[in-house]
């Protein structure tokens, strides 16, 4: 006869069965039985954060950098509401994640009990799916489903809400090996005929562009994307979420496209005749005004695992629903078997045109400045880390400069909140990255505004000895807000000046970390070198940068891709 286990024991056993090594959380009344079981075992490591938002961001960073499902554990009520920002962040970027939340006992649900919220209701619009477990006999199967749903198809966060009494009740524990759900069968293989059509279109291209997004990273298809692009000698541009999907230092890379994309990438997008969209979703920050985008004629191939991403913002000619990895493999196979090649003369002309756009040197900045230019810090960071670091970022100007100036050659190295644009994401995400990659160099590029949104996590970093390198580009402004106010609101800097800043060096030191303040351009490189030599220490580097620097190029809201403001 098998022994009966409590819901709390079952929860932890399920995590062990799923091979979860590390979870992020914060205890509270409704999850005390689960914490009690965590305490009694040592297979699943728990990282205690200082705020639930950080738990979810850390689980998110863990997932993005490792392709494992991130797991967070929070209590009911405020534990959950604090976690919502993190869940919505993961949802917008399709990150596989399971959030386990405590709930008041089933007998108290609906009675406005202490620390009660309608967790399933609050999180419904920002999860891939969620469950309220009302009976302990359903718990193991529910957790199995949660991991399955989170990690398959278009990934996303799944929440499991466990009432306190369910975590106490006992039942027999069986963890299913496999699961099938009649209402959830994500497609993986692309349609053969559609792939064939895509191959034909590719062979007919005269001015092709590969436009690759986060789907390439999520499906681990960077090698296939690179192979396809290189065998065809096509130019490739990556979205903010797709950086690292194609090596940025390669000559066929046009860099990032979109609102702050390069001149050459945006012009190529606008004037190509065949566009190969891979795991990207044509969002508003990427193609600007869709009407303007369709002033030019082009044929579009769109590969995406989510049918609802296809023909959502733009009509496409060859839709292929399927896992990017599978579809690219098939496409490569087809094209290799093909004797025909795309028109090489036309392709040569196209590259010539692209070179002319490149000569515009759209990312230039004043290298002789006596004030530290933020772009220069990122460039030096790239050199000092030899392009091999994991980089997380917060949201704003620093995020765009990081995306433009750190040349990502590998996937899962660039971790940022692309869809939701969550300030406060950077440092907690970096904690998750460091825990998933204990030997990796992890830097968080941030600004003095963003970093203060989760600054309390310096304490977590101290507790777990996480040697992050925090690159604070301190311009005393919410830089991106200031930039928009300068461009579009008559230089009226409403509430965007960051007054009353702490002394970041002292702040870091008070947590037992190393603080550095860097004020001169000539000190930047040495400071970075010194910081990365301190392998076991978190180093908070406060770079005092130019307050007036703006991010260029810029496609203003409502404008077309070829209507960039250039420096």
């Amino acid at each position: 006869m098998s022994v009966e286990l409590t819901g709390a024991e079952i929860t932890i056993r399920c995590l062990q069965e799923e091979g979860v090594q590390c979870i992020f959380g914060y205890p509270g009344g409704a999850v005390l039985f689960i914490y009690d079981e965590l305490f009694k075992q040592d297979k699943v490591r728990h990282i205690l954060v200082r705020h639930e938002q950080a738990a979810v961001h850390a689980a998110d960073g863990y997932a993005r950098s490792s392709n494992k499902v991130g797991v967070a554990l929070v209590t009911s009520g405020p534990g959950v509401t604090n976690a919502v920002t993190g869940i919505a962040t993961a949802y917008m970027d399709s990150i596989p994640m399971v959030v386990i939340s405590g709930q008041v006992p089933t007998s108290a649900i609906g009675l406005d009990a202490f620390q009660e919220v309608d967790t399933v209701g609050i999180t419904r619009p920002c999860v891939k799916h969620n469950f309220l477990v009302k009976d302990v006999s359903e718990l193991a199967l529910t957790i199995k489903k949660a991991f399955y749903i989170a990690s398959t198809g278009r990934p996303g966060p799944v929440l499991v809400d466990i009432p306190k009494d369910v975590s106490q009740q006992k039942t027999k524990f069986e963890y299913p090996d496999k699961i099938s759900m009649r209402s959830y069968n994500p497609v993986t293989k692309g349609h053969t005929r559609q792939i064939k059509k895509a191959a034909e279109l590719i062979l007919s291209a005269k001015r092709p562009v590969v436009y690759a997004g986060g789907g390439v990273i999520l499906s681990d298809a960077a090698p296939q994307l690179t192979e396809l692009t290189q065998m065809l000698n096509f130019p490739c541009t990556n979205t903010l979420m797709g950086l690292g999907g194609y090596p940025a230092t390669d000559k066929q890379s046009l860099g990032m496209l979109g609102m702050h994309g390069t001149y050459e990438a945006n012009m190529a997008m606008q004037y190509c005749d065949v566009l190969i969209a891979v795991g990207a979703r044509f969002d508003d920050r990427v193609i600007g005004n869709p009407k303007h985008f369709f002033n030019e004629n082009r044929k579009i191939i769109h590969i995406d695992i989510d049918p609802s991403s296809i023909s959502k913002r733009v009509k496409v000619d060859v839709p292929i629903v399927g896992d990017v990895l599978d579809v690219l493999k098939e496409l490569i196979k087809l094209l290799k078997a093909e004797k025909e090649k795309p028109d090489q003369t036309a392709l040569k002309e196209w590259w010539k045109q692209i070179e002319l756009w490149r000569e515009r040197d759209c990312l230039k900045f004043d290298r002789s400045s006596k004030i530290i230019k933020p772009q220069m810090v990122i460039e030096k960071l790239f050199n000092v880390t030899k392009g091999d670091a994991f980089i997380t970022s917060d949201v704003g100007q620093h995020q765009m400069w990081a995306a433009q100036f750190y040349k990502f050659d590998k996937p899962r190295r660039w971790i940022n909140s692309g869809g939701l644009g969550t300030m406060g994401f950077g440092m907690p995400a970096a904690m998750g990255v460091q825990l998933a990659n204990p030997k990796g160099k992890v830097a968080c590029i941030t600004g003095e505004a963003s970093i203060q949104m989760c600054i309390q996590e310096l304490s977590t970093c101290k507790q777990y000895k996480l040697p992050l390198k925090i690159i604070n580009l301190n311009n005393r402004y919410m830089g991106m807000v200031r930039q928009w106010q300068e461009f579009f609101h008559g230089n009226r800097y409403a509430e965007s000046y960051m007054n009353a800043l702490p002394d970041f060096v002292k702040l870091a030191e008070s947590y037992g970390h190393v603080g550095m303040k860097i004020e001169k351009p000539e000190d930047v490189e040495d400071a970075l070198k010194e910081a990365f030599k301190l392998k076991d220490q978190l180093v908070f580097m406060d770079f005092i940068t130019d307050q007036t620097e703006n991010v260029f190029p810029m496609v203003p809201g409502g404008k077309g891709l070829s209507e960039m403001i250039l420096v």
């Binding site: 419904r124 749903i149 759900m181 209402s183 959502k312």
Partner: protein
């Protein structure tokens, strides 16, 4: 869709979150108690309806979707209407109910309650045929739809 608590609110939530309209909605368990069938009426361009369908398909609890407009189908609504019926009107209202193939399901000396099924426009037509002030109360379900002939929604 799966006959589970919360499935309906996922559908309703999706419509409000993405700015789609629900004209009407009717839902109940099917002969298989683990499944519910929902008929939802919405208005939009082909592109919008395509997106609505795709987004609904993404909901984990949705098992299968068909667009009844893709083929011949039958639609029915149920209406219960309470009508003031005194004096000579009583006979007239009874006749009208017969013409519309409604049945009187409750009677008092001052009123009739009539049960009527049909398409939305038939129910509208019935109400128009009756003097406005005589209509005391109406309650209508949303439309339920089913394909004609051999066209079957099978899971």
């Amino acid at each position: 869709m799966e006959n589970e608590a919360g499935a309906l609110s996922r559908v309703a939530g999706l419509f409000s979150a993405r700015g789609y309209n629900i004209e009407s909605l009717s839902v109940a368990p099917t002969e298989d108690p683990t499944l519910s069938r929902m008929t939802l009426v919405t208005i939009g361009s082909d592109e919008v309806v395509e997106q609505v369908t795709k987004q609904l398909n993404k909901l984990i609890e949705v098992v299968k979707i068909i667009d009844l407009n893709d083929g011949n189908h039958i639609e029915r609504e149920l209406m219960l209407v309470k009508i003031r019926a005194v004096g000579p009107d009583r006979e007239e209202i009874k006749r009208l109910a017969e013409i519309f193939r409604g049945s009187i399901i409750d009677v008092t000396d001052k009123s009739y309650t009539i049960e009527l099924t049909g398409t939305s426009s038939k129910l509208d037509a019935f109400l128009e045929a009756i003097e406005r002030s005589a209509v005391l109360e109406t309650v209508r379900t949303g439309a339920s739809g089913i394909g004609r002939g051999e066209w079957i929604l099978k899971v």
